[in-house]
């Protein structure tokens, strides 16, 4: 395709991407460099149904004047990124100086909200992503062997976790693992421990979230692999069979290499999605045991009465950087393959 034709061809989607993705990202990045104006406070007398008291209140007129002068707020540079709610350089430095062992330093680190969230987010991402790829391929191979009469219903049932709205699916499981729910009560019976609670223990909550993540994402990778399986060349498979390959060897040496581009595609998608996980934490009410980077953003904006836009912006930008770092190895690999094929 000529460069000119190509340009006109992608112009609409390029424009949409700039408008809906690039510009909002830039605006978030700018927002993260600013904090709110200094609030001008005045002492006033407040009276309510219970009593009167003298308290500080924001002087809205004086603050409005400040806002008029600089609508974005005070420029704060990268200090929001460095504060305790984010990278916490100061606190990390103190912890490094004061702790003797690496374990002690690590537990100090986990006490800081950003690092605590980062640890869970990374664990979740690196456990869920490979398992989703493996299980998706497994389910696809199994469904491919099902007699054609049963194929339709089997595919439908396998896709159910993806069809159910994530929040609803998570809530259903949350009720099932309740101490009075079917899974929770059964586990208590199996382990003969009436105090066993999936919601009360941190490791069990992590496992629950990870299992939920695998359950809800596997159908996506299954359907992609299943579509891919239909295009695996029959001749090669037959040739392998004639050469005496077992079923396992046929999968290992014919199907998997053929599906490698799909594996890369699903890995990319899953890395991005899992790094941004939020709904399961809310639905499982797990924020006391596990927080993710997206949860921090959510909590800044929705947790209290006063939304903290600068802080949320900084966390968003760091999430984007995190995703970029995670995707780099996969993208480099794809780029090399692409160049090799072109050469």
């Amino acid at each position: 395709m000529k460069h000119r034709t190509f340009f006109w061809f992608i112009l609409p989607s390029l424009a949409a991407m700039i408008l809906f993705i690039a510009l909002p990202t830039v605006s978030v990045a700018i927002q993260s460099l600013f904090v709110e104006h200094e609030q001008v406070m005045v002492e006033v007398e407040n009276c309510g149904p219970f009593k009167c008291e003298t308290v500080l209140q924001v002087d809205t007129e004086a603050t409005a004047v400040l806002q008029e002068e600089a609508p974005l707020g005070r420029f704060n540079g990268l200090r929001t990124y460095a504060n305790r709610k984010h990278l916490a350089f100061e606190q990390v430095g103190v912890a490094w100086d004061e702790t003797e062992t690496f374990g002690a330093f690590f537990s100090e680190l986990l006490n800081l909200p950003f690092y605590k969230a980062l640890i869970f987010t990374l664990t979740y991402t690196f456990v869920v992503t490979p398992l989703v790829v493996v299980f998706g391929l497994g389910v696809a191979l199994a469904v491919n062997r099902v007699p054609s009469l049963l194929k339709g219903p089997t595919i439908f049932v396998s896709l159910l976790p993806m069809i159910v709205t994530p929040l609803v699916g998570a809530l259903i499981i949350f009720w099932m693992v309740d101490a009075d729910g079917i899974i929770g009560a059964t586990l208590q019976r199996i382990f003969n421990d009436p105090n066993l609670s999936l919601k009360a223990s941190t490791p069990l909550t992590w496992i629950m979230l990870i299992v939920y993540g695998i359950w809800s994402s596997t159908p996506f990778s299954f359907i992609v692999f299943y579509a891919g399986l239909q295009t695996v060349p029959k001749e090669t498979l037959e040739a392998a069979k004639i050469d005496g390959a077992t079923r396992w060897q046929a999968v290992r040496f014919v199907v998997v290499p053929y599906m490698m581009p799909l594996v890369v595609f699903i890995t990319l998608m899953q890395l991005m999605d899992n790094f941004r996980m939020l709904e399961p934490i809310l639905a499982f009410q797990a924020s006391a045991k596990a927080t993710s980077l997206s949860y921090i953003i959510y909590n800044d904006l929705r947790g209290g009465d006063i939304p903290q836009f600068g802080s949320a912006g900084a966390s968003s930008i760091m999430t984007i950087i995190g995703v970029a770092i995670l995707l780099t190895p996969v993208l480099i690999r794809t780029w090399r393959d692409f160049n090799r094929k072109r050469a």
């Binding site: 009276c47 309510g48 219970f50 919601k199």
Partner: protein
């Protein structure tokens, strides 16, 4: 028969129509109310909607209303002409100056309002309160009788009684409070800290003053209480605890007074639970005399960015919404502040808590940030992962970071 029936219905409808017509007629204007979602507030807005004439009355009840108030009222003209707020949710609106002083409207249309309903800030009326709420104890009289304990008046007695119930094998987890690791848990800290007589801020500043012995005592008391609660306590909010109470698996709980009507009504409850449910005041702690609870009011405000006509229409409709007629029809739905209210057993707990001198929840611009720091840092301590001192230092650090960003420090 059918003629009689339809006649009767027609006549009643006509009667109601005239009654409403006579009570509240507004010739023009737009009324749109944004409010939290619980029955008492719905009673107010639906009564306000009975106003007739050229006026349109709409209401949006939403549990997440706090998250949209500022944006919705910043627009000019504002989407909502009125927001029903509480001590804490009025603060962001005051900070941004989005509320209209009501002095002239109160003088013109508010003759029936009592002085203590008027929320004044710096001498200007900014809201009209109509109901009170507070967290206080709910007890199961039959269970307490079974272990031979009186109704607890202090948190120490709650622990003693709870332990006795546990030891007697009646219940494994006899106690619950609203300890979900979100806003709810922050409120429990606030209540317990107020009960210990603590101050949240250094006087006249936004600097935190919680990292002290009072804070440590507060944390330790909370930890003793969660030991009597179900291990799932970090997921307990009103929606979780109320059904557990109804199923008869709790003996003592600290809940919102506004849950009282439902729990005493006993709909969907096990036999014998509602009959034995008693509402008593919030307990004191550590030998203090102030109940460990904070007093809350709910009231209506009028937006600044709307026309005077809409503001007047809204005020008249809302005054109708909190009229004697509404109180009489919904007497037990809340602890109303109006004179026509007859306190029943559902109000006993809030009334006792207020009478014992509980403090109102601090209506400070930066209180929300401290409240958020409480619930972000408390779970680590309650799960036994760190010391009380470390938790208080964390709360202080988290608050300072947030308050600096918001421009208070």
């Amino acid at each position: 028969m059918s003629f009689m029936k339809s006649f009767a219905i027609g006549a009643t409808a006509a009667l109601f129509a005239t009654a409403a017509y006579a009570e509240c007629e507004i010739s023009s204007g737009r009324v749109n109310v944004l409010a939290n979602d619980f029955p008492a507030l719905k009673a107010v807005t639906s009564t306000a909607a009975e106003c007739t004439g050229g006026v349109t009355v709409e209401a949006n009840h939403n549990k997440d209303f706090r998250n949209i108030t500022v944006q919705a009222l910043t627009a000019n003209p504002a989407e909502y002409t009125s927001v029903i707020v509480a001590n804490s949710s009025i603060v962001p609106l005051l900070n941004e100056g989005l509320l209209r002083p009501l002095d002239d409207l109160v003088a013109k249309h508010g003759q029936n309002l009592k002085k203590n309903q008027l929320i004044t800030i710096d001498g200007k009326i900014m809201a009209v309160a109509f109901m009170a709420n507070a967290q206080h104890l709910f007890i199961r009289q039959d269970i307490l009788d079974q272990v031979g304990k009186p109704a607890p008046t202090t948190w120490e007695e709650v622990i003693e009684t709870g332990q006795a119930i546990k030891d007697a094998g009646v219940m494994e987890h006899p106690f619950a409070f609203l300890s979900m690791s979100d806003w709810n848990l922050g409120e429990e800290f606030v209540n317990m800290y107020l009960g210990h007589g603590g101050e949240f801020f250094k006087p006249g500043t936004a600097e935190p003053a919680i990292n002290n012995e009072v804070g440590v005592a507060t944390l330790n008391m909370l930890k003793e209480l969660v030991a009597l609660s179900n291990p799932d306590f970090l997921t307990y909010n009103t929606a979780t605890v109320v059904p557990i109470w109804k199923s008869g698996d709790l003996a003592i709980a600290q809940l919102w007074g506004s849950s009282g009507g439902e729990l005493l009504g006993g709909e969907g409850a096990q036999e014998g639970v509602a009959e034995n449910t008693v509402l008593i005041g919030a307990p004191t702690v550590a030998g203090g005399s102030t109940p460990s609870s904070s007093l809350w009011w709910d009231g209506f405000t009028i937006s600044k960015n709307i026309s005077d006509e809409d503001a007047e229409a809204t005020f008249i409709a809302m005054v109708n919404g909190i009229s004697d007629k509404m109180v009489e029809a919904n007497n037990d739905a809340a602890v109303w502040l109006m004179d026509s209210y007859t306190p029943g057993p559902a109000a006993a707990g809030v009334a006792a808590t207020a009478a014992a001198g509980a403090d109102p929840y601090p209506m400070l611009p930066y209180m929300g940030l401290l409240h958020q720091a409480f619930f972000e840092e408390l779970p680590d301590f309650l799960q036994g992962n760190e010391s009380a001192e470390q938790t208080l230092a964390d709360i202080e650090a988290a608050y300072i970071a947030a308050a600096k960003e918001a421009g208070y420090l």
